[in-house]
Symmetry: C2
Subunit: 194 residues, 2 copies
Amino acid sequence: MELTTEEKIITAARTIFTQKGFNATRTRDIADEAGINLALLNYYFRSKKNLFRIIIEEKFDELFGMIEPILSDVNVSLEEKIEALAANYTNLLLVNEDLPFFVLSELKSNEYILEKVKKNTRMLSQPVIENQLKERGFTISTLNFIMNIVSLILFPFISKPLFVSTGLVKEEDFTNFVMNRKQHIPTWVMNTLK
Amino acid sequence: MELTTEEKIITAARTIFTQKGFNATRTRDIADEAGINLALLNYYFRSKKNLFRIIIEEKFDELFGMIEPILSDVNVSLEEKIEALAANYTNLLLVNEDLPFFVLSELKSNEYILEKVKKNTRMLSQPVIENQLKERGFTISTLNFIMNIVSLILFPFISKPLFVSTGLVKEEDFTNFVMNRKQHIPTWVMNTLK
DNA sequence: GTCTATAACCTGATAGAC
DNA sequence: GTCTATCAGGTTATAGAC
């Protein structure tokens, strides 16, 4: 542990905030997790909100940073795009299981992050995808195409607590389950286009 | 308004709890919404938790009650099953947009509802689906089949705040968007089987 | 059954000693 | 920089009058 106090607090905040969300998180829990005193948290970050902004910004970029570069590259085929998204997201989420639920959850209740998304409207228009679909005679809308890819990749992580609690997936099999899906998703999505 | 005080409280609790979740809900807000005094809430239900249990149980059944009867009916083909699920869920969720997120969210934090799911392991084994897939020579696993159906139907509702805030879907177009998807989903899912 | 007043508790933040 | 003690505000739950 060569971490400064500031880093300890951020690391702890990352853990607790992503697990529980802003509202359910207690600053005392972050302090305990960091192994420091509650007063120090306010000394370094002044408020719970300030600390949260650092984490949500970081997590938001983690989750959405990769999507635009992949989708907008004209030199990457549709198949390769789906492959890249499925592979990258599955790998990312396997070590950040709470990430998609956390970001979607905060998006619902957090004015700040909502504003951030609205400003980053880079992913708004997807003419590259639209062209690639048209060129090959596929009639699906760009929006349905993107929605299907994202659904098939992200939903297993969001619904994991449900599937595990029903016994449909065992905790210890989950990694294999999504690693296997990762390989099928490109074929599945391409088949929806026919 | 011919409602008893008890019914008024439950109705109000349903509204506030599904919108905000257990933690973010204030019993004062429920009392206000019901047009009654805060003390009456405790008089009738003794605690916030007790009141919540009534709502989460009801919502849980709403969300998952329909899935097992449809999937386990041997006289309903795979195509018809997907059609029924897509149609029923889309219609249900269009008037209960917060429902899937609410249930999944509480499942993560609520010991009580977790226990409830574990006991209702009816949907655990799906030999009917497995047989229907085998009979027709489809090699997809039952779990992937179910996951794909549920993903494609539910995810648009869970991710609506994201897609609306990015501008990819406009609030006023959302109903048309999911109504249109509802009709495509059976074909999409069946195409993944080839 | 319904209300007002308040107890009991929790949580974010700060004061002040070291 | 770090700690202990405490404040200030908010929230669930209850006591007691009507």
